[in-house]
């Protein structure tokens, strides 16, 4: 692999679209720290495949982000932990790395299974069509439709539960 060229191309890409890409990664992963890790894992994969990437590296990077998120990239990266290569962002996590607590729904996204979360983020944030989401996730459009629908329904349920549980009046209400 020619080291400098992909490094500079990707550094330029991140300088221009880093926030946009990281926001997607954070939404897919559920927290700022995990989002950074996910983006870094996707970048690493882009480096590995650099010689075979044809066309726009941003498209490849995005597709990789989606694939990793849908496949539960954390589980797949377990071998890196065994080899002592895994970064330990958790060591820095004192809660400030989490998505802002005021972002109620975003916090609840973490409760969804990876494929549901990915379907929701790709459909409602990235605004991909069902067919595009299906291709990005490597599944059928029907699966995407079901996953996004279930994910959204689950989010709505969790939101209602969370808001009720979190309201002091709920427990104090006597009728």
């Amino acid at each position: 692999m020619d080291g400098e060229q992909p490094v500079s191309v990707l550094e330029d890409l991140l300088a221009a679209k880093g926030e946009q890409l990281l926001r997607t990664a954070v939404l897919l992963a559920g927290s700022h720290a995990d989002g950074e890790d996910l983006l870094q894992a996707a970048l690493e994969r882009v480096f590995r495949h650099w010689r075979t990437i044809r066309g726009d590296p941003e498209g490849y990077l995005r597709r990789t982000l989606y694939h990793l998120a849908a496949d539960g990239w954390r589980r797949k990266g377990a071998w890196r932990a065994r080899l002592g290569l895994l970064h330990q962002p958790e060591a820095l996590s004192d809660g400030t790395g989490d998505v802002d607590r005021r972002d109620h729904l975003i916090r609840l996204l973490r409760a969804l299974p990876p494929r549901q979360r990915t379907a929701v983020v790709l459909r409602y944030w990235e605004e991909l069509t069902e067919a595009e989401t299906a291709r990005a996730m490597g599944c059928s459009a029907g699966t995407v439709k079901a996953a996004a629908s279930r994910g959204l329904r689950r989010l709505r349920e969790l939101s209602a539960l969370d808001e009720n549980d979190g309201t002091p009046q709920t427990t104090g209400r006597t009728g």
Binding site: V7, H49, R51, R54, G55, G59
Partner: protein, 312 residues
């Protein structure tokens, strides 16, 4: 209410504050370099273990069953290296596919194919060995750009398939269980590399020692799938070059199960070929991406062929 909820979700998504950490790209690059070094070291250790394991297993040259498979830990080393070689070879995969058919086929499915990055090309031959269909595909962000040359009709067309042709993803080797009716051989040979990568990823391919194939002492990986009654359903044998870890040959044995051999794309084109397949053999050659070799990825349109409108 639903729209409100979706709007609220979108607005919260837009409000998430992010700041990319400086040096993220460099850190990813360092990880990539480190991963390669570790993979190579692990694989080197694996080769020694495999050699010892394969010898101890004492596998014969025929068959390719799982009997005598070396320990899983050892296989994992090889699997990781084959996966790395497939993803990082940077070479054009040239394959030649041969079908062993059940009965007489009016159309041959044998033929060469090339794959490199997002580009691929398949040529189907007539029983007489002449080109029948020449099919080139380039995956882009807009969809699959297809260039198809139909030799019997002396026509060609180009189209962009913006949506997946089928409503579901093609089955891969990891999905094969329970005697499903699948178009396995066609799906397999359309992209054997992806199927092999899937088999390595999900762990159905296990190491089974060495066999002499194509003049080399190849590492042998076997996926043996059984039906719900435990009878052999499908066997994939993959022979790998022990130096490069790239595939040399792959064989798919259907154990007499009747798989059809047509792709859905061809069906929509009126060229359905439903031929029972007993086995499929794919030989691999890895070509450097020179200008001449890259040109092989694009179908050539013979003089006098007429352009027609392709299927949407």
């Amino acid at each position: 209410m639903s729209i409100d909820f979706e709007e609220r979700l979108r607005s919260e998504m837009a409000a998430v504050e992010v700041r990319p950490r400086p040096g993220l790209v460099r850190a990813a690059y360092r990880d990539c370099q480190r991963r390669w070094r570790v993979t190579r070291a692990v694989a080197a250790a694996g080769v020694a273990a495999v050699t010892a394991g394969g010898t101890a297993a004492g596998l014969g040259a025929a068959g390719g069953g799982r009997a005598g498979a070396v320990p899983v830990e050892t296989a994992a080393y090889v699997v990781s290296h084959v996966t790395g070689a497939l993803s990082g070879s940077g070479e054009i995969a040239y394959t030649y596919t041969q079908y062993a058919l059940d009965g007489t086929a009016s159309r041959n499915l044998d033929g060469p194919s090339w794959k490199y990055g997002d580009q691929s090309r398949e040529i189907y031959l007539t029983p007489a060995g002449q080109p029948d269909i020449d099919w080139g595909t380039t995956q882009t962000s807009d969809g699959d750009v297809q260039l198809v040359v139909n030799y019997p009709a002396r026509t060609w067309y180009r189209l962009v398939a913006r949506h997946p042709v089928s409503s579901s993803a093609p089955p891969d080797i990891c999905d094969l269980s329970g005697g499903k009716e699948l178009i396995v051989p066609r799906d397999f040979t359309a992209d054997p590399q992806t199927q092999i990568e899937a088999g390595l990823r999900c762990g159905v391919l296990t190491l089974a020692g060495h066999q002499r194939v194509g003049g080399i002492d190849a590492l042998t990986l076997v996926a043996q799938l059984t039906d719900p009654q435990g009878k052999p359903f499908l066997t994939l044998t993959l022979w790998v070059n022990p130096s490069s870890y790239l595939p040399v040959e792959a064989k798919l044995d259907t154990h007499g199960h009747m798989f059809t051999g047509a792709s859905r794309q061809r069906a929509s084109n009126g060229d359905i070929v439903a031929v029972p397949v007993r086995s499929v053999t794919v030989t691999f050659t890895w070509l450097p991406p020179t200008r001449t070799n890259l040109a092989l990825l694009t179908p050539a349109i013979p003089t006098g062929f007429r352009q027609v409108t392709g299927e949407p």
